[in-house]
């Protein structure tokens, strides 16, 4: 009646069985697995073909690419000549053409700094961060605005196009994140005054639409500041966008802070770390890592929201394309204009999205 089971022969590890590969096997397993799946797959394929064919026909096959005026557009497809003829204006706005090298130089410097920060192979990240956050904004301001070092000044009302969109977005992103972190910490503070200031600030800015904020910044702010302080319209828009987005950022960061187990802060406290060290070394690095999708989501929203500045008379990419549509020489090409704007916005937003996914994978430490 013994119930003993004994197995002393070791079983060697064997490789896992091969999964069936090959196009036919893949199709059968994924698209045509049973009658309902097959019908749905065929329907989806038909819809894709029916939808994409005319689009490709219009945007690529029938499109006109070369020329300088609307006479070049005769084949009935998209008229990309409109975009190429106005391309410089879409990028630089009304920036004087002989000074556009300054914008180009700023773009190139910015791209180099971002690459230096973003690519893990490149060394001296701390130096790069200091250069990007402290030196670059000063250099960029003097390059874009001019007015010293023998460079003629270009007032901000001549800025426009993609350049203005990028200035708004980059300044907004760089300023909103730290302000948002401070607000999120303030909202969790045990000090009642700090806490209530943070709560009121966040709830106020989250409660009003960005359009109202921009209107107030451009119309109402001058009523409150003395007339001799002539605040630039662009600066006012920047302050409005930054404060607005920092409130959203604060709520994203707060979500991340709450997701960090209390034991983390306790362990740091038990090691004798003060509040700022606990936050800066232990809680925030983990919270921000967890919050990458939410933070990038806010960045993307901010990037797209910059197009709202057109209502206060700043000509960002969307506004300047719209202005070009009103040109009598190019009437009727609004679809091309909007498709171009959408494409440019999509490139930047998709880039941010992909980089955030890469960061998430890279920072994953197996917990």
């Amino acid at each position: 009646m013994s119930k003993l089971t004994l197995n002393t022969t070791p079983v060697d590890a064997r490789p896992a069985p091969k999964r069936s590969i090959g196009a036919i096997a893949w199709l059968r397993a994924n698209l045509f697995q049973g009658p309902i799946n097959s019908v749905l797959s065929l329907l989806a394929i038909w819809a894709l073909i029916a939808g994409l064919t005319p689009l490709i026909q219009w945007a690529i096959i029938d499109a006109d690419w070369i020329g300088t005026s609307r006479e070049a557009c005769s084949s009935g497809g998209a008229c990309w000549v409109f975009i190429s003829a106005r391309f410089e204006q879409f990028i630089y706005g009304f920036y004087p053409s002989e000074l556009r090298w300054r914008v180009n130089l700023t773009f190139v410097l910015f791209a180099v700094m971002i690459a230096w920060l973003a690519l893990p192979r490149l060394p001296a990240k701390k130096l790069a961060a200091v250069l990007t956050l402290v030196i670059f904004p000063i250099v960029a301001f003097y390059l874009l605005h001019g007015g010293s070092f023998g460079m003629p000044a270009v007032p901000t009302h001549r800025w426009g196009g993609l350049m203005l969109t990028l200035v708004l977005a980059v300044v907004g992103i760089v300023a909103a994140l730290p302000i948002g972190v401070v607000l999120a910490l303030g909202r969790q503070s045990k000090m009642p005054i700090v806490k209530s200031i943070s709560v009121v600030f966040i709830e106020f800015w989250r409660g009003v639409p960005l359009i109202t904020v921009l209107f107030m910044a451009s119309v109402m702010l001058p009523l409150f500041v003395p007339t001799e302080v002539d605040m630039d319209k662009l600066v006012r828009a920047l302050i409005g966008i930054t404060l607005f987005q920092s409130a959203y950022m604060a709520e994203v960061v707060r979500g991340g802070l709450q997701a960090i187990p209390k034991g983390q802060e306790e362990a740091a406290a038990a090691l004798g770390m003060g509040y700022w060290k606990r936050m800066g070394l232990i809680v925030l690095p983990q919270a921000l890592k967890m919050m990458i999708p939410g933070i990038v989501n806010t960045f993307i929203a901010l990037f797209k929201d910059t197009s709202l500045v057109l209502i206060i008379g700043l000509f960002d990419l969307l506004a300047i394309v719209q202005a070009a549509l009103a040109d009598a020489d190019w009437l009727g090409y609004s679809i091309e204009g909007y498709v171009f704007v959408a494409f440019v916005f999509w490139i930047f937003c998709f880039g941010m999205s992909r980089y955030s996914q890469y960061l998430e994978r890279k920072l994953h430490t197996g917990h």
């Binding site: 983390q264 362990a267 038990a270 090691l271 770390m273 509040y275 060290k277 070394l281 920072l363 197996g366």
Partner: protein, 254 residues
């Protein structure tokens, strides 16, 4: 170190007098008086909810008490943040769930506080960290992240992390309760070695074997009170109070 050992003999490591604490209306610690001499090893046991974790968490002010006084290494506990941090420099703590910092490597976990709190040069702090990681026999994992280690390994890293601050007293809050059975011994072995080297220790634990081999005193708590306090031999063989007898029969009787 000599100045520390000079004063070591006269002042007790920890003194608690008339300690009371409430969570809302719940009276969690009731009139606690406890003095721990330097070099003493104390095991605190008791049913869950008896306030034993809360008691040791008051010693480094992770919990705030409402009445009574605590003096740690001659420093009276106050509300002052600087004072609290000063006390925490002398008190190491090991948690039930390890609480390692998951975004830092094992080595960084151990060298972080020496670098940022004690302002040691990085090289010196890392050498120190490696020395303690070797002592808990885990130096070869120094460059891994906590998430890649087993529970027993993580808890040994947590002990090393605390030791890197050169604490005068170590608090253990159920250090083996979250471990799989086969990993408990590797952690207890490290704790026994630490006790043999003369570290002052307060351990909240249900490892009665550990209590028998290491403890100078065993304290039994129930409903926020210290019920019985004795040397391990009489504590286990001749418990005085009914509640202690019941508790011991429940944890040893299977």
């Amino acid at each position: 170190m000599t100045s520390q050992t000079a004063k070591a003999d006269d002042t007790p490591m920890i003194e608690m007098r008339g300690l009371n604490k409430w969570y809302g209306d719940f009276h969690v610690l009731r009139d606690i008086d406890l003095t721990v001499q330097r070099g003493e090893r104390i095991v605190i046991c008791g049913p869950s909810g008896s306030g034993k974790s809360t008691l040791i968490r008051c010693i480094n002010h992770l919990e705030e008490h409402q009445q009574g006084e605590i003096v740690v290494g001659g420093i009276p506990m106050t509300q002052d943040v600087k004072r609290i941090e000063q006390i925490r420099h002398h008190v190491g703590m090991v948690f039930q769930h390890f609480n390692l910092f998951p975004h830092l490597s094992v080595l960084e976990n151990c060298s972080l506080a020496p670098i940022w709190v004690q302002k040691k040069p990085r090289r010196e702090a890392e050498a120190l960290a490696m020395q303690y990681l070797e002592r808990v026999r885990i130096a070869e994992q120094a460059h891994k992240f906590p998430g890649q280690l087993s529970g027993g390994q993580q808890q040994r890293v947590a002990i090393a992390r605390s030791l890197c601050m050169h604490p005068e007293v170590m608090l253990f809050d159920e250090p083996t309760s979250a471990l799989d059975p086969e990993m408990i011994k590797e952690v207890l072995d490290v704790m026994v070695e630490l006790a043999e080297e003369g570290m002052t220790m307060l351990c909240v634990t249900h490892e009665m074997g550990f209590a028998k081999t290491v403890a100078d005193r065993v304290i039994f708590m129930d409903q926020g009170q210290i019920i019985e306090e004795n040397a391990p031999e009489p504590f286990f063989n001749d418990p005085q109070s009914e509640r202690t007898k019941l508790f011991l029969s429940q944890i040893l009787g299977h």
